[in-house]
Assembly symmetry: C2
Homo-oligomer: 173 residues x 2
Amino acid sequence: MKRIVTATVLNQSGVLNRVTGVLSKRQFNIDSITVGRTESEGISRMTIVVNVDDERQVEQLTKQLNKLIDVLKVADITEQAIVARELALIKVLSNAQTRNEIGGIVEPFRASIIDVSRESITIQVTGDTDKIEALIDLLRPYGIKEMVRTGLTAFLRGSQKPVTEITNYSLLK
Amino acid sequence: MKRIVTATVLNQSGVLNRVTGVLSKRQFNIDSITVGRTESEGISRMTIVVNVDDERQVEQLTKQLNKLIDVLKVADITEQAIVARELALIKVLSNAQTRNEIGGIVEPFRASIIDVSRESITIQVTGDTDKIEALIDLLRPYGIKEMVRTGLTAFLRGSQKPVTEITNYSLLK
């Protein structure tokens, strides 16, 4: 099953390497990883999507990450009310005939065409993983020349109380 | 100066750790990093934005990354004609009075409001780094409660010939 883990880290040399070290040592199957700046200077936020067999594995991961230097906070937010989005850029083979046809597919996804050349067009789409995969499936028959995805970034919705991570590490469980 | 380096890698345990190991050992100042799947099964694409003092540093980085196991191709695409985009989710403090006002700021950026609660709204915006930073600057006065960014993802525009990376490693330079 897929789990979404976020880690708030000090933006310092080596922290990313320490985090990926934990993931690699335990042979976690990583689906995607994003690291970007946050609202606070010097603090970055990582969103890691991992494929695990059971919940205990994720618990172990969050524990291990919490122990690292420069890691301020780790949370498995999969079960929470979250906003999760990723961005994909998709370059599709297209000529004069198929250009309009592809435009018709892209529109209902609220995706946009951001580059056109003689034999291809580039589509930018933002959404949850299901939406992006549905669009990719529809575009595949035309021939996908190139595709890049940022991986999921996520945080909690505004309408819930802040999560206390303590529940994750209770000894009584 | 900022440089955008892309690396095509085999999606195997440990490759991410080896790449971040190189970055950490040489103390590269990483602005953002994204890793996501591509059009080919089992192959991922990393986009790394680094802050360097001179071009020689980037050359060194691409050379070092190219040497790694599971790394198929590395390119510094900064000078090329590229499409580069990132995604940001921004949670802004907002009440009944300011909600419309914020809506008016968000619209020209083609950003969208994806979550509303009593005291905050969440905005999703996609674009190049400059655009996203311009929007953040406009939203800051309202109070940014939380923000996550995916970091830049990028590839070459459709209308140019494929790059031959050989030029990067010419001994005659």
